[in-house]
C-alpha cells in the first residue's frame, strides 16, 4: 500500500481585524501565509522607525478632516494591494500617482521622513486605528 499526501488549505477573505488573536497568530505563523520581505534596501530599524502606532490622543488634523468612509476605503485599498502581492511584505507607491494613499498613510503614521510604502504590519495597525477611532468619527459624521 502507498499513502499519498493530501493538503487542504482553507483561506478566509475576512478582514484581519475580524479574526481573534488566536486566529491572527495562526495566520501569521502558517507557512502558507508567509510574507517574504521584498525590500532589502531598508534595514529593519529603518522600517520600524517609519511606523508608529497613533493613539486616540494623537489624531492629526488630516484624520479629522477625512470622512470615516474615505478612511475605510483606503484601508480596503491596502488590503487589495497586499492581497495582490501576497508574498511581498512591502508595497512602494508614488505619491504623485497615488496622492490619496500617500495622504492617508502619512496622516496615519508619524515619520520624520515622508512615507511612500505600505507594509502588511502598517496595514494591520491602520485597521486597528480605524476600528478604534474611525468608527467614532463615523458616528459623529
Amino acid at each position: 500500500m502507498k499513502s499519498f499526501d493530501v493538503k487542504i488549505v482553507c483561506q478566509t477573505a475576512a478582514f484581519v481585524d475580524e479574526l481573534s488573536t488566536e486566529d491572527k497568530e495562526r495566520l501569521f505563523n502558517d507557512p502558507d501565509f508567509t510574507f517574504e520581505r521584498e525590500d532589502t534596501s531598508r534595514t529593519q530599524a529603518q522600517a520600524e522607525s517609519d511606523v508608529e502606532y497613533l493613539s486616540v490622543d494623537d489624531v492629526t488634523p488630516e484624520i479629522i478632516a477625512m470622512e470615516y468612509e474615505e478612511i475605510a476605503k483606503e484601508a480596503n485599498s491596502f488590503l487589495e494591494i497586499i492581497r495582490s502581492r501576497s508574498k511581498h511584505l512591502v508595497y512602494h507607491f508614488d505619491k504623485n500617482e497615488r496622492p490619496d494613499l500617500y495622504r492617508c498613510v502619512n496622516a496615519l503614521f508619524e515619520s520624520p521622513t515622508p512615507i511612500e510604502h505600505v507594509t502588511y504590519d502598517m496595514y494591520l495597525k491602520a485597521l486597528r486605528y480605524i476600528k478604534d477611532v474611525g468608527s467614532e468619527m463615523g458616528k459623529e459624521a
Binding site: 500500500m1 502507498k2 499513502s3 499519498f4 499526501d5 493530501v6 493538503k7 487542504i8 488549505v9 482553507c10 483561506q11 478566509t12 477573505a13 475576512a14 479574526l19 486566529d23 495562526r26 495566520l27 502558517d30 502558507d32 501565509f33
Partner: protein, 166 residues
Amino acid sequence: MAGLSIYSYNKDTNQFEEISSGNQNNPLTSVHNGTDGQVVVQKLYLHHSENNKWYSAITLAPTPSNLVSGEASDLGWSLKLLAGDAEPATVDWSARVAGENLLSGGTVAELAARAPKSHYLVNMGAAGAVDNGYYPLWVQVTVPKGTRNQTHTGIKLDLNAVENNA
C-alpha cells in the same frame, strides 16, 4: 506495487509530477475560500513506468474514511473520488458519498459490466501486456461556508494494488 503511483499534471511545465507519499514534498493541494465555502475538483492520474509489471485489484481509499458528507452550503468537509476520462458532472458528484473508495473494476471487459463505471479502477495491463498509460481520476474537496483559516494534512489517499509480472 512499487511502481504504481498517483500523478498530477503541471500545466506550466507540461510535466506529470508524482504526488508525495509521506513527506509532504508534493502533496495533492486543494485551496479553498473558507468565507464563502468552496468546492474544488482536481484531476489526477494513475501511472507506472515499469516495463515488466502489470497491476490488478487496484483500489484507492481516502483516509480517514469518516469525512462528513455534505455540499458547500451544508455541514462539514468532504472528499470524493471518481474515475474516468471525462470530468464528472455535478449530478455524478452529488450522487457520490464522501469518503467512499474507488473499487477494483477488474479487466476492461469486467469494468464494462460495472455501474457506475466511475466508481471503479480498471486493471493496468494484463499478462504479457504492459500498460504505462496515465489513467485519470478525479478528486472533489468541499469546504463549507464560514470555515476559518486552517490547513489539514491528516488526510491521505491509500492506493492498493497487486503487482504482477508481465
